[in-house]
Symmetry: D2
Subunit: 364 residues, 4 copies
């Protein structure tokens, strides 16, 4: 039972088949392949954005860093959630590429609140030349806490940014999961909600290694190309990125794959919700769950070969992150639940309830 990360899963069969198909004959390199022409059209259609500039890179960190560098001047602040991947998990890549400063906005469950964004916006750029200026907003959906912004929530935040003339980036490493969770269309979740540039993830959701950057205003397209090249992110045998992305979007494969991981996330959440002693640290909106459970569970889960991330927890408790993937099966979920249920039942102590851990109820 592997629930460590959706990065640990492999490549979906449709996508691997596309890679194999792409491996025929000679093609033009560096993004001039014919498949990329089709990808550009597909993404424009998918996002209802006929003018969008579309580029592919191989990692989400590259997509984020290049997107942020495109819109944030070196003397500006990028407002992002304090737990954002760009802030915590890219080793300073966004700063390296942009020269800008990340200003961390807090908020429960991985989501920036409008109040907190207002406060952060109000603290930056008010001291003339002495401080950095307001630069851009970067949101993440699905968030690092596994929660999901609705389009309306995103629009509220981007409208605050736009009131200060700030462009808005969406880190959509798990955008498909967010779309499935909300039922929103790609357009509704992005440009219709005020987003200017999207990191559209493929890797975590069944691709081998491809992310698209979708820039709704193509004025900066050429600058993006230069930044991508300069960063070492322009692939010579680019057709193999194109092929992945084409297959990923064709026939809504991306949404089907995300549907499976979300459903399996839900299956885990539903199963766990009935087990006393388990606390949901964040609402389980998509395929990622953050939990606390009684001490001792880790050891027993490990004995059953369950693999997942562990975090520090208060005394007597243990914390875990469980991630379902496009290829997670109901059987794997049930095996996990079975292991945890048995243990939890045994380990459950009334004091957990009496002491009232602040429990976040899983989503319905």
């Amino acid at each position: 039972m592997f629930f460590a990360s959706d990065n640990g899963s492999g490549v979906a069969p449709e996508i691997m088949a596309a890679i194999l198909r792409a491996n025929e004959g000679y093609t033009r390199s560096y993004g001039a392949d014919a498949i990329m022409d089709r990808v550009r059209t597909l993404i424009r259609q998918t996002f209802e954005a006929p003018d969008a500039a579309v580029y592919l890179v191989a990692t989400g960190s590259a997509a984020n860093a290049l997107s942020i560098a495109l819109y944030a001047q070196p003397w500006t602040a990028v407002f992002c959630h304090e737990d954002a991947h760009a802030a915590l998990d890219e080793c300073g890549g966004p700063e390296f590429y942009s020269g800008a400063k990340l200003v961390l906005v807090p908020g429960p469950h991985g989501k920036m609140t409008p109040e907190n964004l207002i406060q952060a916006l109000g603290k930056v750029g008010e001291s003339g030349v002495h401080g950095v200026q307001r630069g851009m907003l970067s949101l993440t959906n699905v968030t690092e806490a596994g929660t999901v912004y609705t389009p309306a929530e995103i629009a509220t935040l981007t409208s605050l940014a736009m009131a200060k003339d700030l462009p808005c980036h969406l880190d959509g490493a798990r955008l498909a999961n967010a779309l499935v969770a909300t039922g929103a269309t790609p357009a509704e979740m992005t440009w219709k909600a005020g987003i200017d540039i999207v990191s559209l993830g493929g890797t975590k959701n069944g691709c081998m290694g491809v992310e698209a950057v979708v820039i709704f205003d193509p004025a900066k397209a050429w600058e993006f190309e230069l930044r991508r090249k300069r960063g070492g992110h322009l692939f010579s045998k680019h057709r193999f990125l194109s092929a992945q992305m084409e297959a990923y979007l064709t026939g809504n494969l991306w949404l089907r794959l995300a549907g499976q991981s979300n459903a399996m996330g839900r299956r885990v959440a539903d199963g766990l919700a009935s087990i006393p002693g388990i606390t949901f640290l964040h609402p389980a909106d998509a395929n990622i769950l953050f939990l606390q459970w009684p001490a001792g569970t880790h050891a027993r889960a490990e004995a059953k070969a369950a693999i997942y991330y562990r975090f520090p927890a208060p005394a007597g408790r243990e914390a875990a992150r469980l991630v379902a993937s496009w290829c997670t099966t109901a059987q794997e979920v049930d095996d996990l639940l079975s292991a945890l249920r048995q243990d939890s039942l045994l380990a459950f102590e009334l004091s957990d309830v009496l002491h009232g851990d602040q429990r976040t109820a899983p989503n319905p």
Copy 2:
């Protein structure tokens, strides 16, 4: 007939098979996959360097930029040939990653001469704090001109650098071709010749997109990891890089693939040598040929669907770069030669000989 670049070819069957094999089950991500352990061992064995640190990235530009950044401080000069890929074809990536300045060393046929390197070394770092300091040497083999340094030639250049305490980088985007061309072992061409860090190319020679960085002194390994991550070049589904590199090196596949492209380059060169009016601009040491031929040849070659790069040439002449690939066939070469021979014979004009183009005889 595709002779535009070895980047236009696809993935060798053995390597694609390895990618397919790697696509089984869950694995640890970000380079902690079991295949990478084997790759590390393979590369250490291949280079007779049991302590070497080994990392994978997906592009040659990333390998070069990260390698240079690892050894060149921002206030130093990187000495490279004026036609080096790092200098001309990476859009300033090495400077972006390192902050260093590239100092261009001239030399015929893409090769730095010891005299020119001595002169460049003597001009830098002699004005105290006012100028940048000497930083490192970066050589390329196979060169951008398609020529090949012997290990002895490399050792001569690195010894000049080492006399100034400079580390030495080898851009081996086509290292396999250089090894095949010279018969040298990987160790002879690199650390035994004074090289400290190698960009070991896979992409152009039958991989999908993978390059290894081999650091003979592992002291800087952790810094390399951080720089790679920060640059957005650490793959989450890293196993697919590992799988390529494992297959590439296993059973000397990389040398067999390069043997084919070199042989096809030789076949083109031999065929062209017998055609009057064709000038070799550089010795054809490996799989890349630079030629001049009579005006009008481009049009006729295009009519026969021959694809290659064109360059400006003197009046009455045309210039071309032809690159053979791991998958170039003898039939493709013969078709190309047939087209060019027929045309050349017709187009040849005595004046070409009388006016004495400076012809570089192809290598025997």
Copy 3:
């Protein structure tokens, strides 16, 4: 009455005299002047640090940015107080020079608490290659809130950093004021308390524009010189920086000047303490006071030509920062107090007391 900033004051007569004296004949440029030799000796003696490397620049932002860049690698975090000048008032200069990320540590009254530093240290560098690494600690004394760390407080914080092998920087833009406030020696406040590198301010305290960087371990001296030059901070007519610093330190002029500004700060604080309705937002340890007073005071103070910074305050209140300088006179203080006292008495409302503004008592 000018209490806007110690930056608004001019040059102390002793220092101007030294500048005039330095303007004789020809000298070697770029720091090779004979005065600089004496400055080096003076600073080494003053800090009881015979091996220290000593350099001069003209601005505090340059001193901070270069100091931080010298010790923080681009992939690391610099821990500083959330109100640090380096964090808020240098427009991202430390990040520009170092490439590092500033991690903001909170704490009341401009001072980092050990608990908060422990927490910040614990949150960084614990996710392997994914996050930035712990880089260095940067403290400020006098703090931006006008408070002063004792040597023991500094030693407590640096010992936490040293436990993680982190070097420690002290932004001493107002170091003289901190020394006067605590009675500590320069050595006690710096290297004896675990500081590795100091920005030693002169400009705010009676110089025209000079700051020294004191590096206790000279191993990085040459790198500092290169960074300074590269940043455009190496003065050609360096003797005029040297002359300022020589006069500044000679005969403890720097401590006398800071003694005057601290005494005038104290005189303001003492005078204000007896006025009802005035709240001290921070302890007034040195020459900077942060206050709240009843609404309407600004207008009346302005009518009396009192100049100082204003900040947002709760309804019915106004906030001010008052800074005394090396040249502030008792008469200026008394004029200020007179204006404020008269107004305050009239404006004072009992409710201010009853509603219990969180008042910080001024230091005794």
Copy 4:
């Protein structure tokens, strides 16, 4: 006799007097001083540029680096002479601030020829995304070789740049000397000749440490302010920069000072021209002379306490750079000539003439 550099001279009396006058009372800091308002007006009048944005920094390296960073994107090439100060003597500062690549254009006597600029422009930006793009032109007047471009020569070069839509920078560290040498007005030498941004030097020509950056199109003024602050180049006690620049430009002091140094340079040149065995390496257009003379002269000049830079020379010869300053006197020149004449007469050997050193005749 000090002829090492105009950096070795002190501050002109009028400028020191202005510094003293500025040292009265309190002023607003960070460039908001009243003197700066007058400087802005003065520079706009002096350059006949009523809309120009005007900023002060303290070093020429800062002026150049900030000017180049303002106009050159990180992925572009800055075309400058191969001996430009920005290329050789600022330790990579322009690259540090801009991220751009310097492309070195050769040309005799420190001057870029139109042909060489055309060639350089033609080699950059022609390979699509793979190479850096054309960014800007940076010229220097007086050049590092001591020669002077006429406005017409500058206009020829800038027109080549403008044909590629490139902005043009003038490093005018010795602009006053160039104006005196040519009789051109500031406007003729700059914006009327196609220059967009000027580093207007004060330091070498009698100031203590101040350079103005004059930006003819004010659209980028705010960005310049942010870059200056971020670089640590915004002075808190800015009035002392303003005072220097005001005095420098008032009553054409700057031209009188440069007139003196040019006249003394001419006096040296004229005196040397009559001495056999002395070769002028470059035309002596302003206050800098590059010479070769017979071996042994250095030792004898040193015995007479003549100070100047020495360079490598062919066997039997010695090379020297002599720089006259705003405060060089006729007596100092005559003492120098006397020493050299006596020695030269003795050392002169007929073979020097017979072997025909390529002598550049000094300007009339």
